[in-house]
């Protein structure tokens, strides 16, 4: 089976699991658990946004939380002013995308190195954190939406049926919308990665010099990748504001940015499913640890990150994939000898089927 077929088989498998969750979970879970799963799905979209730009574009962004927070605040401010949530939903994606495009343009067209990418994105996040944090007074408002400073914005209206502001979504509806968004993001990125644009993005990560020598403007491809990552993070921010009807400056914080990186490392860099698995696992662990007093959750998260970096550097999904392939080959070997050509066709550590 070639890499292309394996890739689409795994995409079909993920789609099947996602669809089964969409239709199956609401009937077997109580409302509280369903709301918990919804936030896992919201954060998974955020994780996938970083997994895409880092794992496929080679852009390590320390400030993915900036786009997430911008999406959240944009939705909150716009929906409080407009009433209907349709345009705010779109704005929550476009504003972070535009912001990412501006930052990306400076970085990629200014030919700044990877180190500066990390420094700039982290700095921008912290600036936004401090900026929003210091807007506590009543004079800080945009239209009818008070920014709230460190108290955040409470009482954010939930998404409604387009054009019908009074017809707001129930928690079950929000679960459906979130899971559908996650599936659309996953499949959309899957299709993109298989396209010419996606392959050039991956190639630029592998060897930017060669991409340039072939005549591709690597800067434009990286900018597109970074902007798309910002848009997806903005979508996650919008859904986050809907989930709790609340947003606050802490989502711009350093802890939030670090957590996204941990999800991607634990789940597996260079895959789209990895960040989803890593996010769900870490979120669940954080909640579980929070129910007891013996261990500090940040300490446990730090230990998990260290363990993964040292013992499972490729992350859960690629390691499971390799183990599955090894098992598959071992089971097939008695039936068909492996040809020398086939034995050299080793999958690269990145861009695997998942």
């Amino acid at each position: 089976m070639n890499r292309f077929a394996k890739s689409w088989m795994s995409a079909a498998l993920c789609l099947a699991i996602g669809t089964a969750m969409l239709f199956g979970l609401p009937s077997v879970m109580d409302d509280y658990t369903l709301i918990q799963v919804t936030i896992y799905a919201v954060m998974s979209i955020l994780g996938v946004s970083l997994g895409f730009i880092w794992g496929f574009g080679g852009i390590l962004c320390f400030g993915q939380a900036a786009f997430f927070g911008l999406g959240s605040y944009t939705y909150a401010i716009a929906v409080m002013n407009m009433g209907d949530s349709t345009v705010p939903f779109v704005l929550a994606i476009l504003v972070p995308a535009l912001f990412a495009a501006v930052i990306g343009y400076v970085i990629f067209y200014g030919r700044l190195s990877d180190v500066y990418m990390g420094v700039i994105t982290l700095t921008v996040t912290l600036i936004l954190f401090n900026l929003i944090n210091s807007t506590a007074g009543p004079e800080w408002r945009i239209g009818s939406a008070p920014l709230g400073g460190f108290n955040g914005i409470p009482g954010i209206p939930t998404l409604n049926v387009p054009g019908r502001p009074d017809d707001v979504l129930s928690p079950k509806d929000l679960f459906d919308v979130t899971v559908v968004c996650l599936l659309v993001v996953y499949l959309g990125l899957r299709v993109l990665i298989s396209s010419k644009i996606g392959r050039v993005i991956i190639a630029a990560k592998e060897n930017e010099q060669r991409v340039l020598l072939l005549g591709y403007d690597a800067r434009a491809y990286k900018l597109f990748c970074f902007t798309l990552g910002g848009a997806i993070a903005g979508l996650a921010g919008c859904l986050f504001a809907n989930w709790g009807a609340f947003t606050s400056p802490t989502i711009f914080g350093l802890a939030q940015s670090a957590q996204i990186i941990i999800w991607v490392i634990v789940g597996g860099l260079g895959t789209l499913v990895g960040p989803i698995v890593g996010c769900a696992l870490i979120q669940w662990l954080t909640t579980a640890i929070g129910t007891q007093q013996t261990f500090n959750s940040n300490l446990v998260l730090g230990a998990i990150l260290l363990l993964f970096v040292l013992l499972v550097p490729r992350g859960i999904v690629p390691s499971l994939g390799s183990a599955g392939e090894w098992l598959f080959r071992k089971l097939r070997r008695p039936a068909a000898a492996v040809s020398p050509v086939a034995s050299t066709a080793v999958l690269p550590p990145t861009e695997q089927a998942t």
Partner: protein, 238 residues
């Protein structure tokens, strides 16, 4: 007739190092030229100038009469200048097929790129290893894959920086055949150290020394020249 590529008084300095000195170089359409010179003669810098990786301090580079001296690094590739670098520059994590396909796909549809990739891999003798990961191949094979990457884009000008380096005698002979076959449709500039290899392919050789062109002639005359023997082989003139 307008030359395919022409440099006029090309100079480049890196701090105090004068890497290229007043280089005037002309190559006609479909010509094959070898460039030789000892280490540090400025051969690779010359290639970097032609492909926009290094900007000239002064002078001009003309491609079919158009000044390309200050182009962005991706523009010479679009214009039709392909290069195989000294150290093979491939997408190591991607397959042989994907490496060549990315080159073919830039100006072609997916179907055309598939066909060109297949034909190119047949030309360079790498079709059997189409699914192999490029980074895991032996050095000689990586050289051929990179030549495939270059010719898949069908550029009028191909620059090959030491295409036979690190190859066995059989591989060198095969590479020479491949270059002559490529030269039927493309102009080539080949940088090499191996004189036997140069004799196999070249009609005209340009000699670079300390960044300057010191001679242009047939391979046999170049080899017999006392100055070249002194510079290149360390022999004193009789």
């Amino acid at each position: 007739m307008t030359p395919l590529i022409e440099t006029r008084n090309l100079n480049v300095r890196f701090g105090g190092v004068h890497a290229t000195r007043d280089v005037n170089f002309t190559l006609a359409e479909a010509e094959l030229r070898c460039v030789i010179g000892p280490n540090g003669a400025g051969k690779s810098t010359f290639f970097k100038l032609l492909t926009g990786q290094v900007k000239p301090t002064s002078g001009q580079i003309l491609f079919r009469g158009k000044d390309i001296s200050n182009m962005q690094p991706h523009e010479p590739g679009r214009l039709g200048i392909g290069i195989k670098t000294q150290v093979p520059s491939l997408f190591n994590g991607l397959s042989v097929w994907e490496n060549v396909w990315l080159s073919a796909r830039r100006t072609n549809s997916t179907e055309q790129a598939d066909r060109i990739t297949r034909e190119t891999l047949e030309r360079v003798g790498m079709l059997a290893l189409r699914d192999a990961t490029a980074g895991l191949l032996a050095h000689g094979m990586r050289q051929w894959v990179e030549i495939g990457v270059v010719i898949a884009a069908d550029p009028p000008l191909i620059l090959l920086d030491e295409p036979a380096a690190g190859m066995s005698d059989a591989e060198v002979a095969r590479t020479a055949e491949l270059i002559l076959e490529i030269n039927r449709r493309h102009a080539l500039v080949v940088v090499e150290h191996d004189m036997n290899f140069i004799r196999m392919i070249a009609k005209k050789v340009t000699v670079l020394h300390q960044g300057a062109v010191i001679m242009e002639d047939s391979p046999d005359r170049i080899m017999r020249d006392p100055l070249i023997q002194q510079i290149y082989l360390g022999k004193k003139p009789h």
